[in-house]
Subunit: 447 residues, 2 copies
Amino acid sequence: MAEHLVIVGGVAAGMTSAVWARRESSSLRITVIERGSEVSYSECGFPYVLSQKVDSLERLIRYSPEKIKLERDIEVMTGTTAKAINFANQSLLISSATKESSIYFDYLILATGAKPQIPLFYTAAMKGIFTLRHFSDARAIEGYLRSSQPKKAVVVGGSFLGLEIAESLTLRGIKVTIIEKTGNLLKKLNKNLQATVEKELLSKGVTINLTEEVLAFDGKETVSRVLTSNREIDTDLVFLATGVEPEVGIAKAAGIRLGRSGAIAVKPTQQTSVANIYAAGDCCDVHHLVSDQPVYLPLGTTANKQGRVAGINVAGGRAELRGVAGTSLLKVFDLEVAVTGLSLQEAKEAGFAARSSYSSSISKAGYYPGAVEIETEIIYDTHTGRLLGAQMVGKEGVAKRVDIFATALYARLRLDDILQLDLGYAPPFAPVWDPVAYAARKAETEE
Amino acid sequence: MAEHLVIVGGVAAGMTSAVWARRESSSLRITVIERGSEVSYSECGFPYVLSQKVDSLERLIRYSPEKIKLERDIEVMTGTTAKAINFANQSLLISSATKESSIYFDYLILATGAKPQIPLFYTAAMKGIFTLRHFSDARAIEGYLRSSQPKKAVVVGGSFLGLEIAESLTLRGIKVTIIEKTGNLLKKLNKNLQATVEKELLSKGVTINLTEEVLAFDGKETVSRVLTSNREIDTDLVFLATGVEPEVGIAKAAGIRLGRSGAIAVKPTQQTSVANIYAAGDCCDVHHLVSDQPVYLPLGTTANKQGRVAGINVAGGRAELRGVAGTSLLKVFDLEVAVTGLSLQEAKEAGFAARSSYSSSISKAGYYPGAVEIETEIIYDTHTGRLLGAQMVGKEGVAKRVDIFATALYARLRLDDILQLDLGYAPPFAPVWDPVAYAARKAETEE
């Protein structure tokens, strides 16, 4: 009889692992267990549906359960929750609305994702307060926007997601206030670049307070006020973008080893501490290429890479994920924000003799119409000259330029290597000294 | 008395070397000899003045002789030609309109550039026939466009420059015909990508014949017909984009060693075969990072890099250019074209077990508005998996994406490394599998 691969979670990492396992083996029996009613959708696309750039949530779905059964012979059980792993008989206890049952597995891939961190004071559910992880969350927000036509919103948390939602709601005609207590907008970002992001948000009518703590939500059935350390804010909608934590319930209960971060610890093959159980995506750690440490860095790209590796390995192939640099991109209205590698603080914490260098350059030849400023911060080791991280902000030419740095991080290049890179030049696309090389040159000069 | 650095040529490599020599040494006496009347201008900007995207040729000039004297204490002699190098007394014979004289040098940097290759049959000068290297060439074309208002033009040569000028003239309302005899539009490009470039040109009204040889130009004072292997073409303007060759007259006469290409042979320090004579830019060879051979690859970026290295070294510092990948970018109307490293043919000629893989991907998440096709061709070694070259074509997201490949070439990455890269993702900027990683994945699958 065919071996049975059971995958818990049918979104990024889970569905990717299913598809790659099938590519590797046509005989494996594959079953995906998904708590929600949709699988195989792009979470990262939610903000663009909410902003109405993308016309429906359904556009974000790649495979329906029926389609993936038909095209890839992958069984999907939606509306089904994995409750417990039983090692003794290699079975998974699952429950749906109607019944509870056990399914046998030869291999298990845990792709249980992450869950939003909710402020401790927020216990009783109130209408108009949202988080955003699952398809059902997105559907709830979209439904509320249509039915309640909110005029004012408070976004709690100056995170990547917080800023994306601030943009989406603003584009829907809602007056948005961002509340953040740490003093930082996008906390990995250097202060100079944070200031540019803040300026962009302000210019689009977003109100920002970065040193204000949310203490309570007030309202009858629906939220109507946010109480903060400073004041009371009237609002029609609250969005919580205060970070996520790995969803490790069944893994922890089963005694699978967790990392220091609290996420599932994995080998480069995505194997967990249990031989036939793998993990992938936002529920597990990933090796950081720069710090050479396991870290918790929940990102869509990582989930896809880990899913691929897990899927190939359980199906009899061989693959490894050597690590990630944490490369992240963000569009904030007309601004592109990109980070890769370690921030200055992270680099110091990781034990590097780290220093950072700020430079300002331009996106095209200076005489070419439409050239705009690109601000770059690079973080490097003063002992070895090794690049440790890079951050860029600008109205064009940033998002994919940071990949040059990401590639340099993978190859462990030094500043002097970056200066040697043969980066492309033509007046419509770059100055002769590309902002990337310029940043390295500036940092070398400061040494 | 201060040592004297004399630089022959005041454009990209020459002026860059002067500026870097000055940064390195405040005491060095620096003199730049320039045949033309302008120095320190961007040749690569000429097409954009001709298309009227940039409003005047003067916008392309960074330093006037007066400004660079004032700000950097660099002496510039325009309208002055270097005639011969005299080793015995370390002097350079120079001539201007009014006199001939000798100047003593401690160090000499040759930055004499390149000259257009002219068809052998074209001997007598005729009005309306142009090449484009120097500021005076650009001024002559611009003058002719204004005074003669040409309606039809023939561009000879489907090169990077030929296509840029075809665009510029089309945007000036001129009906352009491109004639190329080799069957190739941008000969380094893979055929699939050439087809996309051809389609773009045709859609903008450019006529193209790729298997037609130009035999003669006809006309009275001004060109009026082009005679080809197929036919006679009425025209008001002819632009020759048939390649360039290094300008090595005085170097060759002085017995300085030339490479197999005919360009000046240089060490990684830009030193020539004569200890105190350096060369930089389009007059000299450059080491290719992939083939590990000296090659003739006249590009603005290389000229700048070589100029910097030569300037630092003659002024007492230490710098090397480890090599280039030949990264080149081109805008053809709405299309971005980018190449780096070796073409399949070049890779085979260099002795690699080379193979190429074509893939088609998209510039953003599929559901995000405005996602366009990106076509990628990667060239790799089948024995080692090492990346040897890459080419991309698409209406956005190509020009700087190719730099990821350029960085990979520098670091000698393999296909499996490229698949590991942590490239940035967000729906407005890339699909989850960036076209770069997708291309590597596809090539690996074909193996």
